[in-house]
C-alpha cells in the first residue's frame, strides 16, 4: 500500500508538472522574463501548489505521526546563512540559463531523452559535489 501511494504521488507530480507547463524550458524563461513579454503562468503553479499543500500539511500534522513512519521529518535548521543564499543564487542562474529545475529535469526524460540527459548528468555531478565536498 505504501509503495502504491508513493508511485501515485510521483505520477501526480509528473503529470502536474507537465500540465502546468514546467516541462517547457521556453515557458520557464518566459516566466522569468519580466522586462519583456512576461508569461505569469508559472506563478499560478506555485499558488495552486502552496494552497493545496498548506491545507494538506495542516490536517496531517494533527495526527501524531505519518502513516508509515514513527515521526515527521521536518527540517530543523532555522538560520539564514551564506550557503542558503549562495546556493539559491547559483540555482537561480542555472534555472534561468537552461529553463529546467530538478523535478522537470527528471520528468522530461520519459519522453524526450536527448538532450535533457546531458542536463541531468551535469546536475547529478553538481549535487554530488555539493553534498560530498562542501556540505559534508
Amino acid at each position: 500500500m505504501k509503495l502504491i501511494l508513493i508511485i501515485l504521488s510521483g505520477s501526480l507530480f509528473g503529470f502536474g508538472l507537465t500540465l502546468s507547463g514546467m516541462l517547457d524550458p521556453s515557458k520557464v524563461q518566459a516566466f522569468l522574463n519580466i522586462t519583456q513579454n512576461w508569461d505569469p503562468s508559472l506563478a499560478f503553479v506555485m499558488i495552486g501548489g502552496i494552497l493545496t499543500t498548506s491545507i494538506g500539511y495542516y490536517f496531517i500534522l494533527k495526527s501524531p505521526s505519518p502513516l508509515y513512519d514513527s515521526n515527521f521529518h521536518i527540517p530543523i535548521i532555522y538560520h539564514i546563512d551564506i550557503k542558503l543564499i549562495g546556493g539559491s543564487v547559483l540555482f537561480g542562474i542555472g534555472w534561468g540559463l537552461g529553463g529546467l529545475c530538478p523535478g522537470p529535469a527528471v520528468a522530461i526524460l520519459s519522453y524526450s531523452f536527448f538532450p535533457a540527459i546531458i542536463f541531468m548528468i551535469a546536475m547529478l555531478i553538481g549535487l554530488f559535489i555539493g553534498k560530498r565536498f562542501i556540505n559534508f
Binding site: 502536474g16 500539511y57 550557503k83 539559491s88 542555472g94 537552461g98 519522453y111
Partner: protein, 145 residues
C-alpha cells in the same frame, strides 16, 4: 513597464497542475512524513548507502517518469522547447545541482513544500532563486554586452 504575454498565459492549466503537485506533496507527507523535494530525493539517492532509504525514492522517481507518459496518452503531445545548447545545458545543470545541494532545496522543496509550512529559510531561498533567475534571463536577453 510590465507587459503580459496573454497569448501564452495558461492560467487554468498551470493552476490545476500546481494543485496536482500539491496533492503529490501531501501524499508523501501523509505516507512517510517527508518533504517532497526533488533535489533532496536525487541527492539522497546518489549519496546514501542505506538501501531502505533509497527504495521509496526510486519508486517516487519512477512515478515522476510515468506522469508525463499518462499525459501523452490523454493529450497526444507535450509542448516543450529547449532553450540551451549542449554547453549551456552542462553549465546550467551543474549550477542547478550544486546550488540546490548548497541551498538545501529547489522549486519543489522550498518553493512549494517550504512555503506551505511557512519556513523562513524557504521563503528567503525562493525569493533569492526567482530573482536570481530573473536577473539571469534579463542578462542573456541581450543586456549582457
Amino acid at each position: 513597464m510590465l507587459n503580459i504575454d496573454w497569448a501564452n498565459f495558461t492560467l487554468l492549466n498551470s493552476l490545476m497542475g500546481g494543485i496536482l503537485i500539491g496533492i503529490a506533496a501531501t501524499i508523501i507527507f501523509f505516507v512517510n512524513g517527508r518533504i517532497m523535494g526533488i533535489s533532496g530525493i536525487l541527492g539522497n539517492l546518489i549519496t546514501t548507502k542505506k538501501t531502505d532509504q533509497k527504495f521509496w525514492r526510486i519508486i517516487f522517481i519512477l512515478g515522476v517518469l510515468i506522469g508525463p507518459l499518462i499525459f501523452i496518452l490523454l493529450f497526444k503531445e507535450i509542448k516543450s522547447e529547449m532553450v540551451a545548447n549542449t554547453t549551456l545545458l552542462i553549465i546550467s545543470g551543474f549550477l542547478v545541482g550544486l546550488g540546490t545541494s548548497l541551498g538545501n532545496g529547489c522549486t519543489s522543496g522550498h518553493g512549494i513544500c517550504g512555503l506551505s509550512r511557512f519556513s523562513i529559510r524557504s521563503i528567503v531561498a525562493t525569493l533569492v532563486f526567482v530573482i536570481s533567475g530573473m536577473i539571469t534571463v534579463y542578462l542573456i536577453n541581450g543586456n549582457l554586452l
